[in-house]
Amino acid sequence: MNTTEIAVIGAGPAGIAAAVTAANAGARVLLLDENPRPGGQYYKQPPSSFHANDVASSLSENIQHGRELIAGLNNPKITVCANTLVWNITADGILDLYAPEGATRVQAKRIILASGAYERVVPFAGWTLPGVMTVGAAQLMLKGQGLLVGQKILLCGTGPLLQLAAVQLLDAGADIAALVELHSRTEFFGGGLKLFGQWGKIGQGMAQQKKLLDAGVPMKYGCVVTRAVGETETRGAVIVKVDGNGRPIAGSEETIAADTICMNYGFVPATELARLAGCEQFFDTHFDAFATKTNDDLETTARGIFAAGEVRGIGGVEVALLEGKIAGAAAARQLGYAAQSNGHDVLKEWQKARAAFDSLSSMFAVKRGVYESIADDVLVCRCEEIRAGEIRDAARAGAQNLNALKAWNRCGMGRCQGRICGPIAAQLIASETGTSVESVGAFTARIPVKPVPLGVVGASAEPHATGTAMEDHVGYGAARVK
């Protein structure tokens, strides 16, 4: 078995900062990430064979910042394992890895979880049509692959990310069909006031607004998408005005032509590895999701396992970078390296950055009425194709938490393992049963945290055989039951 002093899971801003800090203190670090290049989603890097500096200034600046951060990984103490999925973690520091070359097991003295976040989505009729995707997907294709996902793009959801993404897509040559923001104009700009004192961010936001208005982008505040139009791919969206609780106002529907719909309603911490390792979670009301509990050194309740960045609460890139440094230094100190201790000033800066993001997240929370207005025939679980009405029926009949729901009707049992549908189903159950989203809980994390070939689980030290379980069973004559 391979060993390392510190294993860092996730090579985004938090993971890179943690790896660099720990290595500079003298620790041997293994940095693991499923993607082909470090950077995470925020600092997604194009392949080294791509050459461009004039695509969109808003993008090349982001890519350049990421490049500078990533350069810190060029350190003999750091081994970067790209294309490597961590599919199992134990409280005593064992990690099971899966890469195209095969499966391996690593024993780490300390582990830093920097697994990031997923996008929060709210289903509408037709949201499984090709051409409907997350805002992040469109950004990643643009930043990481130089690909414009559509010609006429509608963005919907809530929060400042929508207008940033709209500007990036516009700069790259797309026509923006509309920006559809859940919150009213008053609520949206009121949210901006929460940034009081952060003049740089306010300036950026205002410049984005101006650019979109100058380009004639229809800004639809206080609206949501209720339906993607199209049979086999997206042709447009039906939007509707909503009241202060997020409920549709009858008769206010409008159809907008678009070939692509991009959605983002905020973010949800990616906590499955933390939960699998037994790290205690807490429910953060600022962004309506579970996150990983830590002390001020960012050590979780599982001794020797640390958490940094979005996994311990949605906080954005500045928080992630600070937390990476704090966790990297703390983990190195535990191994006897003379890493700088986190002084009062670092803690203060960190807490201030967290507090600023928390209040912003609260301003752009998804209103309950939005979930309650999802029609019964709308798919919620994309993998198993379970509809909102089936989830509500199950909740009324006694499925009061996510695990019970999964046993009831397979919601969350598919390949995404509830990453997409879990936060939505939790809202539906809470509304239907009059309980809190917190009490509905999360799906139990299971190995493998993402699908791997069966042979990898059976003999993790051996090269895997080709084929997945399901396809093999079908090959042996089994019939699909659904």
Binding site: Q41, S49, T128, P130, V132, A137, A138, G150, G467, K482
Partner: protein, 96 residues
């Protein structure tokens, strides 16, 4: 209406090579994911679902939703967004 999903023209991409998609040769560039190559060639649906045969394509773009699954060199259920296109690789998308 056919959607033109486009490679940004200002980017130089190195030497083009070929992969096959359902037996047809398609142009790809080093470092591109199979999702990018398919999208740039006009594919929006990459597969049909087991339960209802409904079309699916790119959704999360970061390897968590498992909607963009394709078969690559005989290995089924590979995420197109997370799998790099290699010269000569054979991709199968399921009829939708």
């Amino acid at each position: 209406m056919t959607i033109q999903v486009q490679r940004i023209s200002q980017i130089e991409r190195g030497q083009a090579f070929s992969i096959t998609v359902n037996g047809q040769p398609i142009e790809a560039y080093p470092g591109e994911s199979i999702a990018t190559v398919l999208a740039a060639a006009g594919y929006r649906a990459f597969r049909a679902t087991d339960a209802s045969a409904s079309p699916r394509g790119i959704f999360c773009g970061m390897g968590i939703c498992f909607d963009c699954l394709v078969t690559v060199d005989g290995l089924p259920n590979q995420r197109a967004c997370m799998t790099e296109a290699r010269a000569g690789c054979e991709v199968r998308v399921r009829d939708v």
